[in-house]
C-alpha cells in the first residue's frame, strides 16, 4: 500500500509546497511511491484519510488554529515544512509590533475582516512528529525524508552547524571578512547556500542548541565589535530565536 500523503498550507507564502512541485526530476518517482490525496497547490481532489501530512506556514490566525487541529486529527504523521511551520518564520516579526498597527498597515481599512493572533510554530499548538525547516524547505531533505518513511529508516536532521557544509564547499568564512554570520549556531542541511553566495546565514533552519546560543552571547559581548541588537534582529528574522536577549 502506498502511503497517502497530504500537503497543507497555513499562513505563509506556500513556497515550501511549491518546492515539492519543483522537484521536477524526481516528482514522477515520488508519485510512483506515494499517493497524494490532498494538495491545494497541486490538485482539486480532497481526502481526509491521510498517512503523512506536510504543513507549511505558521499558525497566525484563529482559522489557522482550527485547521492545524483538524490536520493533526486527520494525519497519522504530521510534518512541519519550512521556517514558518517549524519556527514561526517571518510571520513572527509581527509579534514585536502593536497589533492594531500591523493590521492597519497590512490590511488597511479592511483590517476588521481579518482577525489575527501572535504567529507561532505548529509545535506550539499541536504535536509535530517531524520538522523540515528552511526558507524555503530544502527539497533534497524532503526527498530524503520520504525515502526514510518508505524504507522505515529513522529520519534525523543534521545535528551540526552550517559552518560544516560551508567549509566543505571551500568557501572563505564570512567571519574572516568581519561579517557576523549565524552559520555557527544554525542547523545545517541547506548546503550553506547563503554564505556560498556571499550572504550571511540568517538562521532560517533554526538554532542548533542552547550551548551554541550561550557561546553566541559570550562572543557577541566579548569578542565581536558589532551591535548586539543588529545580530538579535538577524536571529529573529525567521523566528529562530525570539527572546529579548541572548543567554
Amino acid at each position: 500500500m502506498k502511503p497517502k500523503i497530504a500537503i497543507f498550507s497555513l499562513t505563509g507564502c506556500e513556497g515550501c509546497s511549491l518546492a515539492i512541485l519543483e522537484l521536477e526530476d524526481q516528482l514522477l518517482d515520488i508519485l510512483g511511491a506515494v499517493e497524494i490525496v490532498n494538495f491545494r497547490e497541486g490538485m482539486t481532489e480532497r481526502s481526509w484519510d491521510i498517512d503523512i501530512g506536510f504543513v507549511d506556514g505558521a499558525v497566525s490566525t484563529p482559522e489557522d488554529e482550527k485547521e492545524i487541529i483538524r490536520f493533526r486529527e486527520s494525519c497519522k504523521t504530521l510534518v512541519a515544512i519550512g521556517s514558518c511551520a517549524c519556527l514561526g518564520g517571518i510571520n513572527t516579526l509581527k509579534n514585536y509590533q502593536p497589533e492594531d498597527e500591523y493590521r492597519r498597515y497590512v490590511y488597511g481599512d479592511k483590517a476588521i475582516w481579518f482577525p489575527t493572533i501572535a504567529a507561532r510554530a505548529l509545535s506550539a499548538v499541536v504535536k509535530v512528529d517531524y520538522e523540515l525547516p528552511g526558507c524555503p524547505m530544502i527539497k533534497e531533505e524532503f526527498v530524503r525524508f520520504v525515502k526514510c518513511m518508505l524504507t522505515g529508516r529513522p529520519f534525523e536532521l543534521p545535528d551540526y552547524a552550517v559552518c560544516v557544509e560551508c567549509k566543505k564547499k571551500g568557501n572563505l568564512c564570512l567571519y574572516e571578512k568581519g561579517v557576523i554570520c549565524l552559520g555557527p549556531v544554525t542547523r545545517a542541511g541547506c548546503d550553506a547556500i547563503c554564505p556560498s553566495f556571499g550572504s550571511k546565514c540568517e538562521g532560517c533552519r533554526g538554532i542548533l542548541g542552547h550551548e551554541a546560543l550561550c557561546a553566541a552571547g559570550v562572543n557577541l559581548r566579548e569578542q565581536y565589535d558589532v551591535s548586539l541588537d543588529d545580530v538579535l534582529a538577524d536571529f529573529r528574522l525567521f523566528g529562530a530565536y525570539q527572546e529579548k536577549d541572548l543567554p
Partner: protein, 348 residues
C-alpha cells in the same frame, strides 16, 4: 644538497607538459586569498602565493565521496567499488601541507588500507615549494616542525634568487617520478658549488626568519598536556566555542569521516558514501544507545588539542599538527590554539 637548478619560465613549461598527463591543482587567487583549485591552464597558478585558505586534502580525501554503489534490482545484490584513479598533480604545496599529507598517507595505509584514498594518492604527483619566511601572521609551523619537509614530495622547489625578474629555483627530488619528470626538461641544469653555497645561505636565512611562538618545545607538548587534563582552561575556553567544527574542517591533518547510505527513489539501488566529520561536533562521539563520550564542549575542545599535540604523535610518530594555524584563522569564536598551549604552559 640540490639536485637541479631551474628558472621559473622553464619550470612552467615542464608544468605545461605535466598538464597534458595530469589534472593540475595549485594555488589560485580568489577573494584576496588563495585556494587550491583545479586549473586547466598552468598560467593560472600563482606560485608566489602566501597561503591557501584550505590545504589540498580535499583532492585526496574529498568532503563527500561515494565508496561503492549497490543494486538489487534483478533479484541479486551487487556492489561496485568506486575508485578515482585520474592522474593528479599538486603544483605549489608548502611544507606544512606536505607534512599533513604524510600523516594522511600513514593513517589511510596502516591497519586498514583505505583504497579510495590510496588510489588517489598513488596517482598524485606533489610539487612542493618551500617557504623562506612565515606565510602569514599567527602560524606556528616552526614550533611544530611543520615548516620543513624532508620527504613526502616528488619535487621540492627552493626560491634561491631572482635573475632578470625571474625566479631561479633550486630543485630537490623526492621520488623517481619527480626526477624523471624534471629531467624531461633540458632547461634544468646541474647545481654548481656556488649554487650549493647559496642554498646553504637560504637555509640559514630560513632558520632565522621563523619566530617561535610556543613557550613549550614541541617535544615537551605531550608532557604539558599530560599535566593539563584537569585544567580550568578547557571550561573557560569552551564558553566561547560553538562546536561548529570550523577548526576540524579547515585542518589539513583532520581525517575523520562519517559513513552513510543513500538509496535511490526506487529503493532498490543506492550508494554508500562518506563525508568529513569532526571531533568538535556534538554528535561525533555519540554511539548506539545515545551515549555520548564527549557530550560537553570543553571535553571536545580538549580532545582536539590532545589529538593534535599528543595522541597522534604518540600513535604514529608523525606530528598531528603542522602549525599552519588554519584552525585559528577559521575559528568563528577567535579561539587560538597558540594561546591555549601558552596559557597551559603558564599554569604549571
Amino acid at each position: 644538497m640540490l639536485d637541479r637548478i631551474i628558472k621559473q619560465s622553464d619550470f612552467m613549461s615542464v608544468v605545461r607538459e605535466l598538464s597534458r598527463q595530469r589534472r593540475l591543482v595549485g594555488p589560485v587567487a580568489r577573494e584576496d586569498r588563495y585556494f587550491y583549485e583545479v586549473v586547466d591552464e598552468p598560467s593560472k597558478l600563482d606560485l608566489s602565493f602566501n597561503y591557501c585558505v584550505y590545504g589540498p586534502r580535499a583532492f585526496l580525501f574529498p568532503p563527500t565521496e561515494t565508496l561503492f554503489t549497490f543494486d538489487q534490482r534483478d533479484g541479486h545484490f551487487e556492489a561496485k567499488p568506486v575508485l578515482d584513479n585520474q592522474p593528479l598533480a599538486f603544483v605549489g604545496v608548502h611544507p606544512c601541507d606536505i607534512n599533513a599529507i604524510r600523516l594522511l598517507d600513514h593513517v589511510f595505509a596502516e591497519d586498514h588500507r583505505d583504497e579510495h584514498y590510496l588510489t588517489r594518492r598513488e596517482n598524485t604527483l606533489i610539487v612542493g615549494i618551500d617557504c623562506l619566511k612565515p606565510c602569514t601572521e599567527g602560524v606556528f609551523c616552526a614550533d611544530m616542525h611543520g615548516n620543513e619537509a624532508k620527504d613526502g614530495f616528488d619535487v621540492m622547489l627552493y626560491r634561491l634568487h631572482e635573475d632578470n625578474d625571474e625566479v631561479v629555483f633550486g630543485v630537490v627530488f623526492g621520488s623517481k617520478a619527480g626526477r624523471e619528470w624534471m629531467l624531461y626538461s633540458r632547461a634544468c641544469r646541474t647545481p654548481t658549488a656556488m649554487d650549493e653555497r647559496e642554498f646553504e645561505e637560504y637555509q640559514r636565512m630560513k632558520a632565522a626568519a621563523f619566530p617561535r611562538r610556543l613557550k613549550t618545545q614541541f617535544e615537551e607538548l605531550p608532557a604539558l598536556l599530560d599535566r593539563s587534563y584537569d585544567s580550568l582552561l578547557w571550561e573557560a575556553t569552551a564558553r566561547r566555542c560553538y562546536s561548529c567544527g570550523s577548526c576540524n574542517l579547515s585542518c589539513p591533518t583532520c581525517y575523520c569521516f562519517n559513513i552513510y547510505d543513500e538509496v535511490d527513489m526506487s529503493l532498490d539501488s543506492g550508494a554508500r558514501k562518506r563525508e568529513w566529520d569532526g571531533c568538535q561536533l556534538e554528535g561525533f562521539a555519540e554511539v548506539a544507545g545515545e551515549h555520548n563520550f564527549r557530550p560537553k564542549t570543553a571535553s571536545r575542545l580538549r580532545h582536539r588539542i590532545y589529538r593534535k599535540a599528543k595522541w597522534i604523535l604518540e600513535q604514529t610518530g608523525i606530528p598531528g599538527c603542522v602549525g599552519c594555524a588554519r584552525c585559528d584563522r577559521a575559528c568563528t569564536a577567535k579561539i587560538n590554539s597558540v594561546e591555549i598551549y601558552n596559557q597551559l604552559a603558564e599554569e604549571v
